[in-house]
Symmetry: C2
Subunit: 463 residues, 2 copies
């Protein structure tokens, strides 16, 4: 794609001032390549982001409203202070405060073939509890909302088991996820619409494992709220077999989760001030909250520490970007997006010019490129830099979604970029007890930070 | 059969009608893209290669000449039989039989600052033993052979500690490895040349860890043989600090390894017979032997099972390639290359036409592309297929080395390709106790097999 870059400039050169511009272009290209290589090397000489991630994950899971989330706010604020970021501050906001209860149980009660079978489940985030004694109902399996609706009254008073698998045949795991996740997000609504008692959803992972993967779910205002839980993929397979064999199977479900009143929390901001246009901001962000399974190492401790590390790398190398580059630890991506909403609201209110926003929220794996949403002009510039990312293997730059936290900024017209790392392992860990720091590789994490730093720097200098 | 028809049409089109030709090219491209996608999907629907790798690694480490290596020969032969490969056979050969002894010890004896310090080491493969009581000598640190030679007589009767680090700042970990590995390969020779008593070599890994990474080392005919061991990077750092502080430090080294007479072993071959040109062969290979640390999961159990899985995928999808595609489990890559040499020798002797050889020996991580050695015509064809590998993220096709086992074929004029996977984690595990199956991801392993199957199929149909 070096060719493309040259070709684009060549076309302009014909119109304007061929020789000078072309020479300038080559010089620029060389300078940026040199700068990128310096950033990559500086990143790979340390495991600084990994050390930060150790600190963050040592606090435990950081569900919005939890004491651990509050600790993470203060920890990352202190990190930015200690790294001498400019304008370190909190952006206060209120967050939902859903709490998983101490008891989460599901069991098949009366299988003629299997007898009593305990199932590995966990409440989905936002679910109401079951009655205190639990609920018992026949369980029926569906693969889609269409299938459920077709059942109509047959589904009434049943526990609805959503068992459409995450398609493992897709190379893009996020596409596999996208093809299954509506069961988790809307399963309880759809189940309640046909009179279901509860929703039990196959975990969102392409593999077969024995732990549940939690995640967000929604209720609708005009539809009854019913409890919703995730079941491990291995137990989903087992349950499906038992239902197929026994036809009528009763399941007991007990959840003790609850939603407490909203709690105070905050986004955490810190920056390197632009040397020429300090009022124009490029955001580098991840979300500080995590689900309450594992310790949110990949989702999204990685994105947070990479954002901090990217700013640190630019500072350490004394690159003095023209525009302000700001690390933002967004709060509450997982179950409310309050951080992203508040950040964009304040930006609008104070009329802060945001040049671009870059989010890392797909795990701390080796970066392979960026997914870009923005107008054609932004896209043309970004794609013209593709060759600069080749030396670190991050040259897959495509059109596509950027990140949830920055989506509100994007809706306000700010170009958004999502860091796209290698994705094959991500959903093995996602939203589960398995999302811990031992699954993160220090070099891969550092490379992601380097890719973000390079992209932010290029945008700062060239937008 | 579809291929036949298309090829015929393609040839006619060249002679007759340019416009038709272009349309046909597009049709071919589409057909191959469709075939590639079918292979990728079939690969991702199973974890078959991972299950094979379980069987291989369950045997334990497979150092040439060991009973475990013999078991691996028989196991993979049976795998190919059970998968109904054609012409499954062994290619007998003799291999070196170096055996690590039960005792491997190193300790600083008289550090004024640290007293007695045990160091974590292991013999390098091929090393002679120390005297039975061990040897004690002053240890001096060098970073290069030049530095060692400059020391001249000062190095005589010393233990030479080679401590030039694997450069972590290089994105390409194999480049970092290449920049340090001569210390391991030739350290004993260079140390003996200046009268050194033994060579102690910093482990070949970019990180700091507490286990030694073994690997091959050589002796020269006209230079005294002295013992050689690897030291963990953490202990290399410690030893370096102690030497810098204490100036004169004595080290005791004891190794009980030995080289036994050569042992009988074999390459294992099995194939899918070409439908049109069965006498023309494309090799898919990895090496079955491993070092005696860990269980050689990434190095190179992965490459072996991927070669088998690639052939299985082509069989399962009933693609009937025109040329014979052969999986080869090469024996003795790590300390002799006898398998690669014997395979090429027989090919020469029997005048077997080899169209290309593809090796996987850089770990079972997500594939990112291929490294190609061959003439311009082969290169032009292969690079023209680049877009076909984009849908699986394996489109980085570059000029460069292919693989050690196929290097003899390559020297005989056969185009060689090396599968290039994501490389950031590889040297964390390489040649150490850490190279075990839990470091392998089933999807990543399957994708590598798919990339090899697609490349072999394209070569079969289009070379």
């Amino acid at each position: 794609m070096r060719g493309d870059y040259k070709r684009m400039f060549f076309v302009m050169a014909i119109v304007v001032l061929p020789a000078t511009l072309q020479a300038q272009n080559t010089a620029n290209e060389k300078f940026y390549q040199h700068t990128a290589d310096k950033i990559i090397q500086a990143a790979l000489r340390t495991d600084h982001a990994y050390q930060l991630l150790r600190e963050v994950t040592a606090l435990g899971p950081r569900l919005s409203g939890s004491p651990q989330a509050a600790a993470a706010v203060e920890l990352t604020r202190q990190m930015m202070e200690r790294l001498q970021f400019a304008n370190v501050r909190l952006q206060p906001l209120m967050v939902p405060n859903w709490v998983r209860g101490p008891i989460e149980e599901a069991a098949i009660l009366n299988s003629p073939s299997h007898g009593y079978v305990a199932l590995t489940i966990c409440a989905l985030g936002g679910s109401i509890a079951t009655p205190e004694m639990g609920l018992v109902a026949e369980v029926i399996e569906v693969k889609s909302f269409e299938e459920l609706r077709a059942l109509g009254k047959k589904a009434a008073s049943k526990i609805i088991f959503f068992n459409r698998p995450f398609d493992p045949a897709q190379f893009e795991t996020f596409a596999g996820y996208g093809g299954a996740v509506n069961q988790r997000g809307s399963g309880a609504i759809e189940a309640a619409k046909v009179g279901g008692m509860a929703a039990l959803v196959r975990s969102m992972t392409p593999g077969l494992d024995d732990f549940p993967h939690t995640g967000g779910m929604r209720y609708a205002e005009d539809v009854a709220k019913i409890p919703a839980a995730a079941i491990s993929t291995l137990d989903a397979e087992l349950l499906s077999k038992i239902i197929a064999h026994d036809k009528s199977v009763n399941l007991r479900l007990k959840l003790t989760c609850q939603t407490l009143p909203d709690a105070p929390s905050a986004n955490v901001l810190g920056e390197i001030l632009g040397s020429e246009k300090p009022d124009e901001v490029i955001v580098l962000g991840g979300h500080l909250d995590s689900w309450d399974k594992g310790t949110g190492a990949h989702d999204d401790g990685a994105g947070c520490v990479q954002s901090i590390e990217a700013v640190r790398l630019l500072k350490t190398l004394d690159l003095k970007p023209k525009r302000t580059i700001r690390a933002v630890m967004f709060m509450n991506e997982e179950n409310g997006l309050r951080g992203g909403i508040e950040y964009a609201r304040e930006a609008r209110e104070k009329n802060v010019k945001h040049v671009a926003a870059i989010e890392s929220d797909r795990g701390g794996f080796a970066p392979r490129g960026f997914s870009v949403e923005g107008d054609s002009l932004a896209w043309q510039k970004i794609i013209s830099w593709r060759s600069i990312f080749e030396s670190m293997g991050a040259e897959r730059i495509t059109r596509g979604g950027s990140g949830a936290d920055i989506s509100v900024l994007v809706r306000d017209g700010v170009p958004g970029l999502g860091l796209v790392p290698e994705s094959q392992r991500y959903f093995d860990y996602h939203h589960s007890d398995n999302d811990t720091i031992d699954k993160v590789n220090p070099r891969e994490l550092q490379l992601g930070a380097a890719a973000m730093a390079i992209m932010a720097y290029l945008i700062s200098e060239e937008f």
